[in-house]
Amino acid sequence: MSARSIFLALAVLPAAALAQGFAGLGTNADGFAIPQPDPQFVFPADHGPHPDFRIEWWYLTANLTGPDGTDYGLQWTLFRSALRAGTGDGWQSPQLWMGHAAVTTPDAHFVTERLARGGIGQAGVIADPFRAWIDDWQLSGASDWSDMTLSASGPSFAYDMTLTAEGPLVLNGADGYSVKSAEGLSSYYYSRPFLDISGTLTLLDRPVPVTGHAWIDREWSSQPLSQAQEGWDWFSLSFETGAHLMGYQMRQTGGSTYTTATWIEADGVATSYPDGAFDARPLDFTTIADRTVPTTWRVMLPERGVDVTVSALNEHAWMTTSIPYWEGPVSVSGSHSGKGYLEMTGYDGD
């Protein structure tokens, strides 16, 4: 077992089997703070890290278009995972950091990963002015996230982007308190769905100017998974009408699901939906890395008249990170049309 996969077992990424093998991670907060209902977020401070919680992420996905109309997907994620609650100086810090960056084209998928210890300056997040970094990767800008720059690099790709905010922050769940299981496991969760993005992708030394639409998710928690949960399927969809839909289902042993959704009007007004309102069903599967992964979905939110087919831009958007998962751009057709991002975790081999 390599150091990386140990890290990932500790981190939030939902390899449920591993996580459950690691006694306590799924259910017990072990001296960590636990999300409480009715949060009162304070910005920009809450854009920064919360070291008393076990896990946290800054998660950016973007649908991009090149000059010739080619669609691209972009991912930039910084994970924080704590071995113990709190901070510490230098190598004593219990905080660990992990970055994932990816670019998806219709026929290629570039992935790279970085790991770092907290406390030594190699990685971290500062709220004001905002700066989230690991090694040479960085998401930084104004403390209100109005204007930011984004960069990452890997052995075969790199990108340099500029972001401009269009609409407000959206609090998911009940004012940002998001319940993830019937037992009440929860997280703090807010999104920034309205972001314009432009810049340059470098793919195998070939620069591609791109523009598009980005979405940032912020979430922190100490109890990532219930024991019965195997993984999740998460959708962030931007419709041509200007509305957005965030919905996910936690897949539970025995085949049942626990779903959550947020509908966001074009003007930023958001409505949360409880378990059962949102429905996602696989339509077609792709075999990747010895696993069968659904890459075409039927997604429904009947209360908003949503009944769409979501298909992967590149079915092979497999994240070959220490613990692998699927993450990539999708196109939407049916009752609504548009683009979006799909993340699927917990699809084990065998």
Partner: protein, 795 residues
């Protein structure tokens, strides 16, 4: 038919268990020596890989400070922030429970994947490893020693003895530093990375060596061992050859009967091949087991050698690795095939109704001798070409191989000539018969005698080399360790205090000051020396300009050691960087290159380096009194002052251990050769009755015949020993003048040790005598009816 055929063939062994034993024993011995050597090599290589993986020696490029200055953490972060994927390593020595350990601090999250040294970390263990008082990985053998310290240790067979691995944070605390020794550079770097010099010009990128310095330095040592293993294997295969040949000869009636009964030749050959494969597998397995024992017994010495000679850490516990036991099995099968090929060819040519009378092994001995001699001459020529035009260690070994094989092949003809001379000079019926009969035995014995020749020559060659080395080495130690006392201090302040005190109590205080660096991508040391009579009087330079010491003191140039001079082709007058090479000195037992500067030049170049070690010339004062006084006055630990005698003793001990492996292999090889003779004689003994019975019937007593058999064995061994002396000396010359220069970087003068050779000769004759004794006694006790059967049985 197949089963019945196989049964008929196998029944032979039930009737001749001795022969079966011979074959299995020979093959097992050959395999044992081979796989034992391979096991040692595999273990050592695995240790290097482990070390290289953990420390990034070689496999990965490294970033180090100029002149080996340590790095600080900010430099690490600035590199990472600039997109350089590097992982920090801190190294140092740590005293725990009275023992000194080498502690390596790693950062598990950024460590390259292949360098995942602390592999046995369990899922839950990362948190335990990087915790403030995290677990320290330690070799299981050391775990006991450390059980009572405050740290928590995790036994890990992946560690080398005497080394510890911990998280970098913990390691820095234990080593009381916040510096980083070096950075490993990961193989896959991101796009758009700025050049190193623009980030931090004080850092140096050292390219990876692929195999690592240690592996490179020790390669020659392992090649040496392999060559020895191969030699022993060859000696063992001679035995197998004899046993198989005999078994085939004796079963010719069975073969004929089987053929007459309708077994096709192809099937017969296949059955025999199956039979031999079974034996080879069985013997191979036994051999591997023996080899394991053999290697386990020798490994501590090998490990000590490698530590002493190359500072390479090798565990001294053995693991069963497929690499060597598979190679052992393959060698057993291959060796059997080689040994059996001749017998198979003969069988293939055997007419169905050929006489079933056992004939002498090679009826056409004469022509086969001549053929072998021609091949020998050819090999001699090839060897001469290697000697003239070859370069490098492999050419040296190729030359050795040619020399040895040529000599072995030429042996039967040489002996035949000697024996012919003997019979020409012989007067009287019995002596004449003796010489003629000895000549007739030659084909049957020549394999064993060739084995003996090789074993003896190897013995003479290697012992000459080792003894020459010892003589040179002890002489050199006397020169180099001229100071009566050596003082070790822990800080420049302590050094100043102690040397200040000693100022008027000793004749001279000679700082031993050096820095580690790399020249031509290999480790090297730079020393500064005072201008003092100690050096002028004691250092024998192999080559130098006139007034070398004056010019060195004046900063005119540098001295280099022999290995650096050879490696980088630096003879006197050549330029090393901006310096002129003023002289070359012998420096035995040191793998690294050395450069010596005058003290002023050294200080000018490396102002920050201070001397912590000193040689003390006590002059008229009693060294022991000086040492005791200093110890008492400053309450110094025992290690702070070491006297000359102790250093010499330690150095010699390292030296002796270095060659204890060689010595053990030598003795084993010689024993195998002795065994080969015994086997051959026993084999021949069963075939000899028809040759001896007529002589007996004519009135020579069995006792007389047995005595003659003994004399014969001794004569043959003596002749072979005579031939082995020049061959062994040739071997020694190649070892000293070619192989050693390539392997260690220094050339040693060759000395002769005639008494040793006489001793060895006596030993060999004794071995031959003992080997012949049993067959001879059996002959003396042979019942008349056994001899009479010769005349009455249709064989």
């Amino acid at each position: 038919m197949t089963v019945a055929g196989l049964q008929a063939l196998l029944s032979h062994w039930r009737r001749n268990p001795w022969q079966l034993f011979t074959m299995i024993a020979g093959l097992a011995m050959a395999t044992a020596l081979w796989s034992g050597v391979q096991a040692i090599n595999a273990e050592a290589r695995a240790s290097y890989d482990r070390a290289a993986n953990a420390l990034g020696q070689g496999q990965y490029a490294q970033i180090v400070g100029r002149d080996s200055a340590p790095l600080d953490q900010a430099q690490y972060i600035s590199l990472r922030r600039a997109g350089w994927l590097v992982s920090p390593i801190v190294e140092g020595e740590l005293d725990l429970e009275g023992e000194r350990f080498r502690l390596t601090g790693i950062e598990p999250l950024t460590l390259p994947r292949g360098a995942d040294a602390p592999a046995p970390l369990e899922l839950s263990a990362l948190a335990g490893f990087i915790a403030p008082n995290g677990e320290i990985l330690v070799h299981p053998d050391d775990a006991g020693t450390l059980a009572n310290t405050d740290h928590s240790f995790r036994p890990d067979p992946g560690q080398t003895r005497g080394t510890l691995t911990a998280d970098i944070g913990l390691a820095q605390r234990l080593l009381k530093t916040d510096a980083i020794t070096m950075l490993l550079v990961l193989p896959d770097q991101p796009l758009g990375q700025p050049p190193l010099s623009t980030i931090d010009p004080s850092l140096v990128l050292v390219e990876g060596q692929g195999q690592g310095d240690v592996a490179r330095l020790t390669e020659s040592f392992h090649l040496n061992l392999t060559a020895f293993g191969l030699l022993s294997f060859a000696v063992g295969i001679f035995i197998v050859y004899g046993a198989i040949g005999l078994a085939f000869e004796q079963r010719r009636p069975v073969f004929r009967t089987l053929r007459t009964l309708g077994l096709p030749l192809g099937r017969l050959l296949a059955l025999l091949a199956v039979e031999l494969t079974l034996f080879a597998l069985a013997a191979g397995a036994i051999g591997i087991a023996l080899g394991y024992i053999f290697a386990a017994a020798l490994l501590p010495d090998v490990a000590a050698t490698l530590r002493g000679l190359y500072s390479a850490d090798v565990t001294d516990t053995l693991t069963l690795r497929p690499a060597w036991w598979l190679s052992g099995l393959a060698m057993a099968l291959g060796g059997t095939a080689a040994a059996a090929s001749g017998a198979f060819l003969r069988l293939n040519r055997l007419p169905l109704l050929a006489s079933t009378q056992p004939r002498a092994w090679a009826a056409d001995a004469q022509s086969s001798h001549r053929r072998m001699a021609i091949i020998a001459a050819f090999l001699g020529l090839v060897g001469a070409l290697f000697a003239a035009f070859g370069s490098g260690l492999l050419a040296g070994f190729a030359l050795l191989a040619c020399l040895l094989i040529a000599a072995a092949l030429a042996l039967p003809l040489t002996l035949d000539l000697m024996l012919r001379l003997g019979s020409r000079l012989a007067r009287g019926a019995v002596p004449q018969w003796f010489w003629a009969d000895t000549r007739q035995q030659l084909p049957g014995l020549s394999m064993a005698l060739m084995a003996l020749l090789l074993a003896m020559a190897a013995n003479i060659g290697v012992s000459t080399m080792v003894s020459s080395f010892r003589l040179t080495f002890t002489g050199w130690l006397d020169q180099r360790l001229a100071s009566e006392l050596y003082l070790n201090t822990t800080s420049p302040e302590e050094a100043a205090l102690l040397t200040g005190y000693l100022e008027d109590k000793v004749e001279a205080i000679l700082p031993i000051i050096s820095i580690d660096t790399r020249i031509g991508d290999l480790p090297a040391e730079i020393f500064g020396v005072l201008d003092h009579a100690t050096y002028r009087d004691n250092w024998k330079l192999l080559d130098a300009v006139p007034l070398v010491w004056d010019r060195l003191a004046a900063g005119d140039g540098v001295l280099v050691n022999e290995q650096l001079s050879r490696r980088e082709n630096l003879s006197v007058g050549a330029r090393l960087g901006h310096d002129t090479v003023l002289g070359v000195y012998g420096d035995y037992g040191n793998p690294a290159g050395q450069v010596v500067l005058g003290m002023d030049a050294f200080h000018a170049r490396y102002p920050d380096v201070a001397a912590l070690r000193y040689g003390l010339r006590t002059g008229v004062a009693d060294p022991k009194a000086v040492a005791d006084d200093l110890r008492r006055k400053f309450d110094l630990p025992p290690d702070a002052l070491v006297d000359q005698a102790r250093i010499k003793a330690v150095s010699l001990q390292v030296f002796e251990r270095t060659f204890s492996v060689t010595a053990a292999l030598n003795i084993l090889t010689l024993s195998v050769a002795g065994f080969a003779i015994l086997i051959s004689l026993l084999t021949l003994a069963t075939m000899r009755l028809p040759q001896l019975a007529p002589v007996w019937a004519l009135g020579l007593t069995r006792a007389r015949l047995a005595a003659l058999e003994l004399v014969r064995a001794v004569c043959l061994a003596a002749f072979t020993g005579l031939a082995a002396v020049p061959l062994g000396l040739g071997l020694a010359w190649v070892l000293l003048a070619i192989v050693n220069v390539q392997a260690f970087g220094w050339r040693l003068p060759m000395y002769l040790f005639p008494l040793d050779y006489l001793h060895l000769g006596g030993l060999t004759i004794l071995a031959a005598f003992l080997a012949a004794l049993w067959p001879a006694l059996r002959l003396a006790r042979t019942q008349p009816d056994a001899l009479l059967k010769v005349f009455s049985n249709e064989r």
